[in-house]
């Protein structure tokens, strides 16, 4: 946040934070994740490790909940008390929801995390001082902190040759999280700019969405009405903004919902309900 921003856009920041987000959007990147298609196979998670220079931490630190998986597949047993879990397991791909009214943003003392004109929660690694307030204030718990310096341990030569030059390798003391593959977005936008055309739907696809064997993840610009993701949002009557969905609670016929919507954080990821045959 430069002084310019503070002085000129302060009220805008404040008001629009209540309305949910930035004062003017170029894009509003978003996702739709179909939980009925998700088979919980971990492909997205591993793809994320490969794309985003995620450090693997090893068993000891994993045991301490210090793992760094931006994309984690949560598995829940919904029929824990029955004899057998006859409807299988419930899988939930959980990643940063890039909320428009993000709770992580206002609390960062140095504005290392802020809302971009693309509708993303940016995390500027080299501005972060590691107060970890943002992670504390994230209802989804999807912000991961570099508790140690993993460079030597996670990428012993020649593994470091795999590192993606389009992102920083985060060092100890820095908060990090899913960026919706900002490097891919940036590349697509640069390409579009060089060709003097707007970014088209399908120009950007995140690593997880690209890998997903069942294509359960759809990524795109929810602001562009013709994008696949925007159509999905419309179809399932999920809208941007605070928790005032058209969907009446009684009507179960629309599968779309956003997690912790009632907190009014206005997430950018719509989940589609899992369907199960009543047999």
């Amino acid at each position: 946040m430069s002084l310019k921003n503070i002085l000129e856009n302060w009220s805008a920041y404040r008001k629009d934070a209540e309305k949910g987000g930035h004062h003017k959007y170029e894009h509003q990147w978003g996702m739709a994740i179909d939980l009925d298609l998700c088979i919980g196979c971990n492909a997205c998670s591993t793809a994320c490790y490969a794309e985003n220079n995620l450090a693997w931490v090893g068993p000891e630190k994993f045991a301490k909940n210090q793992a760094m998986h931006w994309m984690r597949i949560e598995r829940y047993w919904d029929q824990k008390d029955e004899e057998y879990s006859e409807q299988g397991a419930s899988f939930l791909p959980m990643l940063c929801q890039n909320c428009h009214a993000a709770t992580c943003e206002p609390v960062c003392p140095v504005a290392a995390t802020y809302h971009t004109p693309d509708g993303l929660n940016a995390q500027v690694y080299n501005r972060c001082i590691g107060s970890r307030y943002c992670s504390n204030n994230c209802p989804f718990r999807v912000r991961y902190f570099n508790f140690f310096s993993y460079y030597e341990s996670a990428w012993p030569a020649p593994m470091h040759m795999q590192l993606n030059p389009d992102l920083t390798v985060r060092d100890k003391g820095v908060m990090e999280k899913c960026t919706f593959c900002i490097q891919r977005i940036r590349e697509a936008k640069d390409k579009a700019k060089m060709a003097n055309r707007p970014v088209r739907d399908g120009d950007v696809i995140t690593a997880c969405a690209q890998a997903c064997p069942t294509q359960a993840i759809v990524f795109g610009d929810t602001q562009d009405p013709n994008s696949r993701v925007a159509k999905l949002w419309k179809k399932h009557q999920v809208e941007r903004g605070p928790y005032t969905q058209k969907k009446p609670k009684t009507d179960p016929e629309i599968r779309g919902y956003r997690i912790f919507e009632e907190l009014n954080v206005d997430p950018s990821i719509m989940y589609l309900e899992r369907v199960r045959e009543e047999v």
């Binding site: 310019k4 921003n5 389009d166 920083t168």
Partner: protein, 210 residues
């Protein structure tokens, strides 16, 4: 804006410059001389109209290269365009070093008797490229693209391509005054930001930080 933060910045910048000038009397003297030189050099290089040049000077140190490549001969005397050799600049985020084959393209014939060229030929015949020393660099967490800057300042403005050196010079100084390149601008965040604010570049952190 109620009060000019530009002024504040100038204060700060001078502070930064002063900070940079700590380094003993010798260096200070050298630097004073250099500033004079730089000022003169700057006068040499016109700024295309419609561009507010980024403020800030920097006195880079001399970097000995494996071959003392004479930019002056190529660019100043022979008027070779920057992008003839640094051809990736308009197609990629990096300007790149010209492939050895490109050098040999001319120097199979031209000036083959010069020691520098013979050294080059050695490399070529060994099937290697010279290991140049990197002079201009931005931190690893910065995303800078040459292509977009060239598009904005050269092609979109319809600036004649033979004057591209004026645009390059905004951040690289007047390279063609000397032989091997020497850092002439601070290339710090303040340097970039001031130019962005003056020329309406993006102010979004994530445009440049990765």
């Amino acid at each position: 804006m109620p009060f000019s933060h530009v002024r504040l910045n100038r204060v700060a910048r001078d502070g930064a410059a002063r900070y940079r000038r700590d380094g003993g009397v010798v260096r200070a003297l050298f630097l004073m001389f250099a500033l004079v030189f730089a000022g003169w050099a700057h006068a040499e290089l016109p700024v295309p109209e419609g561009i507010v040049p980024p403020e800030g000077e920097y006195e880079g140190k001399d970097v000995p290269q494996p071959i003392e490549f004479p930019h002056d001969i190529h660019a100043k005397i022979n008027k070779i365009n920057c992008m003839y050799c640094h051809t990736y600049a308009r197609r990629s985020k990096v300007a790149g070093i010209p492939p050895t084959s490109k050098c040999m393209g001319c120097h199979k014939i031209i000036a083959t008797d010069k020691p520098r060229i013979q050294k080059l030929t050695e490399y070529w015949e060994k099937g290697e490229s010279p290991r140049w020393k990197k002079v201009h660099d931005v931190p690893d967490y910065v995303h800078f693209t040459h292509e977009k800057h060239l598009k904005r300042f050269v092609f979109d403005k319809g600036l004649p391509v033979e004057n591209v050196d004026q645009v390059c010079g905004l951040c690289h100084g007047d390279i063609k005054q000397g032989t091997v390149a020497k850092k002439a601008k601070p290339l710090t965040m303040g340097f970039c930001r001031r130019c962005h604010e003056a020329n309406g570049g993006p102010g979004d952190c994530w445009k440049c930080h990765k």
